[in-house]
Structures are given as C-alpha cells and as structure tokens.
C-alpha cells in the first residue's frame, strides 16, 4: 500500500505539530529566557584590618569565574589596598586561608572599580546603568531582561545600612530603589543578592521587586564573625559566612546540579555564630528546582549547528536561543529526576532536527517571522490534514 508510508509520514508531522502547540504557547508569554549571567562583587571596606573583606570578595570572584562567568561579565569593586600594603607579609598576594594554598590575587584579576572609586554613587550607577559618558564600557553592567545577576557585598554594616569605606553608607531603601529601577529598565530576569555583614538581613527589608532572592549572613541584632586568623599575615583572612559558602562551592563544578536550596540550607548557625537568613517571597521558582549555577555559573551560549558549513546554519538566532533555553530546562528537569534514561534526550534531539527543517520550510514558504503566525498556519493545516486523513481512511 502506497498510503502506508505516506500515513506514517503524516503521523510524524502531526506529532511535531502537537509538540509545537505544547511548547510554543508556554514560552511565548515571557519572551525573556535566561540567556546570560552577570556578577557584581563588592568589597565595601578599606584598610588593612579589613583584609578579610577583600579576601571574601576575591574568593567569590574566583569561584564564579571557575563556574563559568567570564571576566567581562563580572563587575569587581575592591578597595584593593591589601596586596600591595606595606603591612602585607606576602607582597602582592592575598590569601583566604592560613594554609596559603591559594593566592587569590593571581595573574588575571580584573578589578573594575578600585580604591576610592568604590562609592555608593558608583555602586548605584553600576546597578541602574546610568553612567557618565566617559565611563568605559567594561565598567558597565550590560545586563538585559534575560540576565541572572549575582550581587555579592561584604563589609561592615548595621541595621538597614552597609558602610562604604567609612565615609558613606548604603541604606536598605537605596538598595531597594536601585533594584526597582533595574526591574523597570529590564536589567535582570532574576537577581540573587548575597550579603556578608553584621545584621545583613536588615538590608533586604525594603525590597519589593519580583525575581529577587536574597541571602544574608546574619539576622537583625546579630554580628557576622570572621572565620580564622592568619598568624603570619596577622589579620583575619575570611569571614565565616563566606568561608562556608566557598566550602560549599569547592565541591562543585560548572556541570553540577546542586540547588540554591541546598546552598541556603547548608549554613549551620553554630558554625556561623549567626543565622543565615534568606528571603524568597519575591521569587517565583521553587528553590530546590534552581541550580546554583544559574547564578554562580554561566549559561553557555550553545549554538547547535547542523553541519560545519555556514550554508546550513540557521539564520534566525533568537529562536535558537529560545530552543536552547528549552533544552536547558529539559536538562534540569532531567537531572532532578535522575532515574530517567538519557534516551529521552536523544529522541528530543531528533525531534528538534525535523522541527527545524519544518520551520525553515514554513518560513521559506510563508515569509513570516512570527511564531504565532506559524502556529496559526500550522493549526489550520493540521485541521485540513485531519479531515483529509479521516476522509481517506473511511
């Protein structure tokens, strides 16, 4: 029967349309997929005895770099007076552990704002993106509505404020205002604020913008303590909260699937000598479904190519982003349910290929760019096919 392969072909096409009709409406209401990662790391204190704050920030810097955020997407703000301080027993080196295994101030540390540039004004300018014309592009936070931003701050703080270098302070409503402006200007999709200071939790009290998840090292009325002292350098070299954060990340690489929840619950109040506080009421996704690499790592911009030759490359990049993001979520889900086999992934890939071709075909035929129109056409042709097939089979 000649109609038999024809029928199976039709069923393939049908199934594609079904899958399209399921996938596309889900993705279309939020056109912004998570497609890039940024980190803003701020050390707000200065002076030799605050060595540990610089070490904290540099440790986080090293961690997020290791987990895949490239240097150009990290805004590092440091007082930067430790490595070359005359009091430093180890010139041009900064350590976060008394074992001196790891020099944090190695070859490729790119400090964007250093010394007296670390001010509340500059910090707010970085967040809101309102720079003077003379500020170079490398000092801008060039995030967009698809960005996940990690904002890490450490220094000396108090009830609803954070000191900047002993001269000025950032108050909780300043921070909330900046975040709100960011939201209005579509500068982030999700924002993780992590603060290691005394009474860090109070800094989040004014935040209202959705998509923000925060964690602070201590509750109101609590102090955050340093972890240990380096008797060689003669100062404390790391704070407890940051120390245990780093300990958590040391076990991970950029392919790990540890969730934010596992990070947030890893803090032991007896070890911290304070209570780590996290606020999730502004955040939609369940924390145990969010991998830490969503903030501390980076989305690899994978461009799936069908062949090595440009003639076969897909012209439309935005749809590819959407599709690759889709596979990303599929991967997350998959990894959460570890018992599923990898074959599912394989079949998904095969499906994608035919889907690509079909889309290309449709695009070429119809000359439309909008997926909605495609869907409409697709549905129409599906109904047509359905009636024809029932008519043929009867």
């Amino acid at each position: 029967m000649a109609s038999d392969p024809m029928g199976s072909q039709l069923r393939r096409i049908l199934s594609i349309f079904f899958s399209l009709s399921i996938i596309l409406p889900l993705s279309s209401p939020s056109p912004t997929m998570h497609n890039n990662n940024w980190a803003v790391l701020v050390c707000t204190s200065r002076f030799w005895f605050n060595y540990r704050h610089m070490a904290n920030t540099l440790s986080l810097y090293r961690t997020v770099k290791r987990l895949g955020i490239p240097d150009e997407r990290i805004i590092l703000m440091l007082a930067d007076d430790m490595a070359c301080n005359a009091r430093n027993n180890y010139p041009a080196q900064v350590f976060n552990n008394e074992n001196h295994q790891l020099n944090l101030y190695g070859d490729n540390v790119e400090v964007d704002y250093r010394g007296y540039e670390v001010t509340v004004e500059n910090f707010l300018r970085v967040l809101t993106g309102r720079h003077e014309a003379s500020v170079p592009r490398s000092k801008h936070l060039l995030s967009d509505e698809g960005s996940h931003i990690l904002l890490y701050m450490t220094g000396h703080g108090g009830n609803e404020f954070l000191k900047f270098q002993d001269t000025e302070e950032l108050q909780s409503h300043d921070l909330a205002d900046a975040v709100k402006q960011m939201k209005e200007k579509n500068r982030f999709k999700e924002l993780l604020i992590m603060v290691d200071t005394c009474q860090a939790a109070t800094l989040f009290s004014q935040l209202q913008s959705p998509g923000v998840v925060t964690i602070g090292s201590s509750m109101k009325g609590e102090n955050s303590y340093s972890h240990h002292l380096d008797p060689d350098v003669g100062v404390s070299v790391v704070d407890r909260f940051t120390f245990y954060t780093l300990a958590f990340f040391e076990r991970l690489d950029m392919y790990s699937n540890a969730s934010l929840n596992s990070l947030f619950t890893s803090y032991d109040p007896t070890l911290l000598m304070s209570t780590a506080y996290y606020r999730t009421d502004l955040y939609e996704r369940p924390l145990n479904m969010v991998p830490v690499t969503n903030f501390f790592g980076s989305v690899m911009k994978t461009i799936p190519t069908d062949s090595a030759y440009p003639g076969f490359l897909v012209a439309h990049a935005s749809e590819y982003a959407a599709i690759s993001a889709e596979t990303e979520t599929a991967r997350v889900v998959l990894e959460d349910e570890a018992d599923h086999s990898k074959t599912y992934d394989q079949s998904e890939k095969g499906l994608q290929h035919t889907l690509d071709e079909w889309l290309k075909l449709l695009e070429g035929k119809l000359g439309v760019k909008d997926p909605e129109v495609l869907v409409a056409y697709g549905l129409g042709s599906m109904v047509l096919l359905l009636t024809i097939s029932t008519w043929l089979s009867s």
């Binding site: 005895f49 005359a86 350098v233 003669g234 100062v235 404390s236």
Partner: protein
C-alpha cells in the same frame, strides 16, 4: 471676644511661669544655700571615694591595632646576637677605657651590621631655668653648645620600612648610663641595650613594616629624660643656622606614631617572692597628660595574655596598709552587698582588698597627674603630642645567669615586637580611646565622664554661696562689689609678684635652698606691705566681709574651673583644700547667736588657716603620700624648683589660685566687722 481674652490671659500666665521657673529654681537654691552646699560637698567626697568602684575594665577600641594577632617571630638567634652585644658592653665597662666614647661606637657598629642608618646625637645638660609660663610646651632648648665639656652621646639607628612610604616612624628608646657602666646594675643596664638590639635585628629583616623604626640608645648620664627630650627637640626643630653644629649628621624618619621606652631594672631585694617577670608601666607626662589608653591596653594585653608577664602600675604602698582605707573597703563591700540584695542588677560589689588596691593605685594616678611632672622619658614625647609609654622590665631571676638572661630577653623582646607590630598596623594617630582617665589597676580605668562628677559636686556650691552672700549684704547698690574688688586686685597682683620672684632669686647663683626660701618669703612679705601702703588697707568701711567672701569665692571658682581644663587632677586635689576654706570662712569678731556652732566653725577656720597655706598644704600632701618622716617645710623651695623645672602648671595653680585664696581667707578671718 471673651474667650479670646481668657485664652490670651492663660497664655500670658503660662509664659510668665515658664520664664520664671529657672529664676525660681535658682532662688530656691540660693535661699537654701547652706543645705545645698553641705549636700553637694558630701556628695563630692562620697563620689571621690567610690571612684574605684566605678572603674571599668579597659578594652582595645581601635580595630586597626589587632594586638597579638600575629605570632611573634623573635627567636633565640636574635637573642644570642643581642647577648654578644651585652657581653661586649660589659667587657668595655670593666676595662674602664672611656666607656662614654667606646660604647656608643660599639652600638653604632652593631647597628650598621644590620644595615641601619646610624648617627650619634650629642647633647649637653640643659640649664634648669625658670620658665613657668611655658607650661604647655616643651622647654625651648637652645642648641647644645658643644664647647661645654660635659656632653652625652646617644646613638640612633633607623630602619627604613622596605615598602612603607617613609612618612611615619615608631621610636624605640633604651636608656643606658655610660657613667655608671661598671656599677651595680650594669648587667641590667646593658640588657636594656641588648633587648633593644634583639628587637631591632628582627625588625631589620621584617617584611611587614609600614613605618620606619628608630632606635635611640640614649645616654642617660643627665637622667633618662634629658637625652630623649634633647633628641626630640633636635628632631622636631631643625637647626638651619649653621655654625659648627651644622656639619652634624641628623637623620629623620617622618612623624612619630608612638614611642616605646624600655629599660631593664634588676630589683635588688624584693619584699615578696615574684613568680613571674614583671613589667611596670609609666604613662604620666607633663601636666597630667596621658598617652592614649589604647597604647597601654596593647602593652597590657600582650604582656598578660601572650607573654605571661605581670603588669604593674604606680601605687602608694602606704595606703594599702592604712587602716582607714581598709575600713572604707569593708564599708564599700557591705554597701555593695546590700545594694545587690536590693536589686541583683546593681553589680558594684567589690572585695575590700580590691578596693584598697584600687584606691592606692588611683591615689598614685591622681597624684602623678596632679604633680604635672612626667614619670619617665615618655613625657618628652607627649610634649610633641606623640603617645609614648615607659616599660620597666624586671626579671624574675638574676640576669647574671646567661640562660635566664636569654629567656628573659626572648620574653621581653617578644612583648616589644608585638607592640611594634600592633602599632605598625595603625593607619591613623591614636585617637579612638581615652586621653583623659585615671587608672585604678593596669586593666581598669576611670574615664573623664565619671571622674568629673566629684569635682563638679565640690565646685557647684561655690556660685550658689556667692550669690546668697551677695543677697545678704545690707548695701542694696548693685555695684557694691566694686569696693571689694580692690582687695581682690591687690591680692592677685601680689600673687603675680610672688610667682615671678623666684625668677630673680634663681639668677643669684649658689644660694642654698633654705636661703632661697627665706629670700622668697621675705620678698613676698615686703611686696605685700608695699602694695598695702600704695593702695591702702583692705579694710575700708565699704568692704563688708560678706561681700569680700562672695568675691573671693567667685574668683576661686573661676580659678578652679580654669585649672580643671589645664590639669584636672590638680584642680581635683586643690578643690579638696580650697572649697572648705571658701565655705567656712567667717570673721573672728562676727557675732552669732549659737556659740557652739561659732566655736566649731572658728576651730575649723584656724586649722584651715594653717593647713591651707600652700607651704603646709604641699607638705601635708607629700606626708600623706610618702609618709611624714621625710617631710620638712624648708623643702618647699626644692619642690617648687622641681615643679617649674618641669614646666608644671601646678606651680602656677599653687601661687596664682591657691595663695590668693588663702590670703583672702585670712583677710576675712581678721575682718574688723564694723
């Protein structure tokens, strides 16, 4: 209309009562002046006695200091090197071949081996000149005239911080007497140099220095203070007008962050067995100035918690044995216990022994500050607003044994190393902690906010009494006090003459102190008589005794308050003498109803007339402090010479405030009461 009127009236009344309230309060106080003054004086005395209970534990308030956070790295190697230096010094001293030339050379040689910049600083003994009006600044030493045969030689070495900016320096001072090189405490004296050398040799290799290190091995042949102050003077006042002295090398290293003076003293025979090495801290500089409390805290913390050295500060041993103080201690303990039984939150209970020690230490602290004379070479630093402290280290075992000496040097050296490292961490001048405080133990202090209370209580009744006396006079003219201003003016003119007389007496050289004293007394009396002849008797018919007393009290309270700004401790002790004199003064011839009270007041007055005389008052103070056996009235000249030699404002207080008060008191006592 009516309502508005009533409202306006009410408002008017309200403002009237409001404006009147303070006046009424003042009137109330003035009308009950006797009660107020008795209550205030008693409160002042009690507050003074409970000061040891109100002492707080010291704490390090400057975060940047980070004392003890780095491990000391001074090793036996450094100490053995230092021991070689000690041996060399001792052998030179034993040979008696001009140790005053050889020893500085030797020290310089050792310094140069370490790579330090070295030079010698020569200075002569300053003249003990009379310049009491320089009490705020250091004595303006003239550049030393080296034509003078006798001069001392200090050796100075400077280590530049390898990565520092060279703008700040830490000064280590180790006094050493070349004249007494072969003396009894020669080994201890050489050990001070050895101690400094061990630390210096460590610091010359340290990679963490942010401030330059200056080591002054000061020649203390004219006393510890002289050499340091001469060196500091040359350091801060460069002498550009060059004659022969311009060729001298003098190197500098930025502003001084802190000065640490240390000397090793071997106590010959101690009363009790010491189970530890002891370091005694001396902090009082001229005119009651103290170094920042943080500096003392750092030394105390490192000594006690890191090196296991016991810390002592000055204490009057006599007061510990005094029965009166012991009884007071018992009373305080009982009161504290009672207060705690009333409310468990009131925790000022203190064991009586602790109270007694606290009182003895507090008395020593107040006395040293009140005297206005520095207790060591650190005082010279304070004249340039540099915080400095003298550490007197005394070992537990004899230094003659080499092993115990090495162990002691290691311990002492690590204490100094830790202090230097801590100060090296500083980013600003010492400013966080207190400058105005009394110590009641090495780790307990009474801050300015607390110790001002007794003084305030003592001085508070003075204006009230003056006002009430002014109201009681029969004359109703508001300018009536002008007549009494004349005796006041005469008295103060006289006191200025008395202040300046010693300047002329000291010009006449080679007078024994008894002669000087008699000349001073005679001159003063003559001046008083001349002033009375010129300006007339103080007892003119317009001068009522009440007005005279009011004016006297006003002038005294102004004097006391001024003095409390210059040197609080002097004002505090002075108030104890002067305030009763002001309150009790009553003419002998005045008629009162109650003869019993009158006779009591008269007895008090006569006693005070004797004790309030500055000469007896000073003798009394010294008697209470040091025991009465050693006191003689004729020593007054010497003690005054001592005071003005050190530019102490206490001299000015005694002659310009206390003496006129006493004279006016006598005036009132012998007022004719017409």
């Amino acid at each position: 209309m009516e309502v508005a009127e009533v409202e306006a009236e009410v408002e008017k009344k309200a403002t009237a009562t409001r404006s009147r309230l303070i006046v009424r309060l003042a009137a109330l106080l003035v009308s009950h002046s006797t009660l107020v003054s008795v209550v205030c004086c008693l409160a002042g005395l009690i507050a003074l006695l409970v000061l040891p209970l109100l002492a707080k534990n010291t704490y390090i308030s400057e975060n940047a200091l980070l004392p003890g956070s780095a491990n000391p790295v001074l090793s036996y190697q450094h100490v053995t090197q230092a021991n070689n230096l000690i041996m060399d010094i001792m052998s030179i001293a034993d040979d008696k071949q001009a140790p005053d030339i050889e020893i500085p050379k030797l020290i310089a040689k050792y310094m140069e081996i370490l790579g330090a910049e070295t030079y010698h600083h020569k200075f002569s003994q300053p003249q003990n000149q009379f310049h009491p009006l320089y009490f705020f600044s250091s004595s303006p030493n003239s550049p030393p005239t080296l034509a003078n045969l006798s001069y001392g030689t200090s050796t100075v070495g400077i280590i530049r911080a390898p990565r520092g900016d060279g703008k700040e320096a830490i000064v280590l001072v180790s006094p050493y007497n070349t004249q007494n090189a072969g003396g009894i405490d020669a080994s201890a004296s050489a050990s001070s140099i050895g101690l400094a050398f061990s630390v210096f040799s460590l610091l010359s290799r340290a990679t963490w220095l942010a401030k330059d290190i200056i080591w002054v091995a000061s020649d203390s042949r004219f006393g510890d203070h002289t050499s340091v102050s001469a060196w500091l003077n040359d350091y801060h006042n460069p002498n550009f007008i060059g004659d022969a002295s311009s060729t001298r090398i003098f190197k500098r290293a930025g502003t001084m962050a802190c000065g640490i003076v240390f000397k090793v003293v071997e106590k010959e025979r101690r009363e009790k067995y010491e189970d530890r090495d002891v370091v005694t801290l001396y902090a009082e500089a001229s005119n009651g100035q103290m170094p920042n409390l943080d500096l003392l805290n750092v030394v105390h913390y490192l000594a006690v918690h890191r090196q296991g050295i016991r810390v002592r500060i000055g204490m009057f041993g006599g007061l510990v044995k005094s029965h009166l103080v012991r009884v007071l201690g018992e009373v305080m303990q009982q009161v504290g216990r009672f207060a705690r039984s009333l409310n468990p939150d009131w925790r000022f209970e203190m064991p009586s022994s602790e109270y007694v020690e606290g009182t003895a230490t507090l008395a020593s602290s107040i006395y040293s500050q009140a005297l206005g004379v520095p207790t060591g070479p650190h005082g010279a630093f304070r004249d340039y607003q540099v915080d400095a402290v003298t550490l007197e280290l005394s070992p537990r075992f004899s230094l003659k044994n080499e092993h115990t000496r090495l162990a002691f040097l290691l311990k002492g050296g690590r204490l100094i190393e830790g202090t230097v490292r801590s100060v090296n961490n500083l980013l600003e001048k010492f400013h966080q902690s207190f400058f105005l405080y009394f110590l009641t133990a090495p780790n307990k202090f009474v801050s300015v906010g607390v110790y001002m209370i007794p003084f305030a209580f003592l001085v508070a009744p003075l204006p009230i009494i003056a006002a009430s006396l002014f109201n009681l006079t029969s004359n109703r003219n508001p300018w009536r006090w002008l007549h009494t201003a004349k005796p006041l003016l005469i008295t103060h003119t006289w006191s200025v003459v008395v202040t300046l007389l010693p300047f002329y007496i000291s010009k006449i050289s080679d007078l024994p102190s008894t002669h000087c004293m008699l000349t001073w007394a005679g001159g003063s009396l003559m001046a008083l008589v001349i002033l009375y002849i010129v300006f007339g008797s103080p007892y003119s018919k317009h001068v009522e005794w009440r007005l005279l007393k009011a004016v006297m009290i006003a002038s005294v309270s102004i004097g006391l308050c001024l003095m409390s700004i210059i040197n609080f401790a002097t004002a505090q002790i002075g108030a104890l003498f002067v305030v009763p004199m002001c309150l009790f003064a009553l003419p002998i011839r005045v008629k009162t109803n109650n003869s019993l009270i009158r006779s009591m007041v008269m007895t008090c007055n006569l006693v005070m007339a004797v004790l309030g005389f500055p000469v007896t008052a000073v003798a009394l103070m010294q008697g209470v402090i040091k025991g009465f056996g050693t006191v003689s009235i004729l020593e007054f000249w010497d003690s005054m010479k001592f005071l003005w030699g050190w530019n102490s404002a206490t001299y000015l207080y005694l002659v310009l405030v206390h003496l006129p008060c006493w004279l006016l008191f006598l005036h009132i006592l012998f007022h004719p009461c017409r």
